[in-house]
């Protein structure tokens, strides 16, 4: 006897198509970070000055999916050998599918724009931690290179 709850190939493909459409909608949300409104903040006014923040925005994501079906079942309920061609109304003995995805976004302040009585000014925001890490990495790389060269000379 065949299991009436087992999905046909068409049902499984339709299900995956639906999931793919949802994933594409999610991706469009990620691509919304390409709008200029994502980079500049809302203007804030105080004491005669208007301040706008400017930030670098990075976002990304992806998804993947897969599906597999077991061999088609025979009318007697047993699984047919894999080489046998599936019939149009054949139910499959089993199968599995999966969908996974991930994404993320990051923002880093770049500058602060002030509009006031003394004109428009752009004040840069320096991320000291990032610069210090870059400096340490460069210094450590140089140190490692020098040590390697000294060792090579002594040999």
């Amino acid at each position: 006897m065949t299991d009436s709850k087992a999905p046909t190939l068409e049902e499984a493909v339709a299900l995956l198509d639906k999931a793919r459409e949802q994933a594409a909608t999610m991706l469009e949300t990620i691509f919304a970070a390409a709008q200029p409104g994502a980079v500049y903040g809302q203007p804030v006014g105080a004491d005669g000055y208007t301040v706008i923040t400017a930030a670098e925005v990075t976002s990304g994501g992806g998804f993947g999916m897969g599906m597999g079906l077991g061999p088609p079942s025979r009318p007697d309920g047993r699984a047919a050998p894999p080489a046998e061609a599936p019939q149009p109304e054949t139910r499959h003995t089993g199968g599995a599918g999966g969908l996974g995805g991930g994404g993320g976004a990051m923002g880093r302040p770049v500058a602060i724009i002030t509009i006031g009585p003394d004109g428009v000014k752009v004040k840069p925001v320096v991320d000291v931690t990032k610069v210090a890490l870059a400096g340490l990495t460069a210094w450590a790389s140089m140190l490692g290179l020098l040590r390697a060269r000294r060792r090579a000379r002594n040999r």
Binding site: A33, A34, Y40, T50, G61, I115, V120, V122, A134, M142
Partner: protein
């Protein structure tokens, strides 16, 4: 079946199965007017579209300031990025200067 896998559900009849990397043209955000000054922030994005994913890098580029009939462009400089690249370039230059190839010359 292969075409089905590449189908873009948001573009009927279109197939996207390739990687698209593009610098989007510089675009303007909503202008801000304070008194007689109008500031229009501008930004530029790098958009990478993959068959099943994507990446966006958006950054501010400049401001267009309109005041008393004159228009000027004020660049927005990413000092953190400049310092990082400067340190990287310094390290690369020192490594090149101390390389055995440079000493032989």
């Amino acid at each position: 079946m292969a075409k089905d896998r590449c189908r873009d559900p948001h573009r009927e009849g279109r197939v996207r199965c390739r990687i698209e990397i593009a610098w989007a043209p510089e675009v303007s955000a909503a202008p801000v007017t304070v008194g007689d000054v109008t500031v229009t922030p501008r930004a530029r994005a790098l958009v990478v579209r993959l068959p099943q994913g994507g990446f966006v890098w958006n950054r501010p580029t400049a401001l267009t300031v309109q005041q008393a009939g004159a228009t000027r462009r004020v660049p927005v400089v990413d000092v953190t990025r400049l310092l990082q690249l400067g340190l990287l370039a310094l390290a690369a230059a020192l490594a090149a200067a101390r390389s055995p190839y440079a000493e032989r010359r």
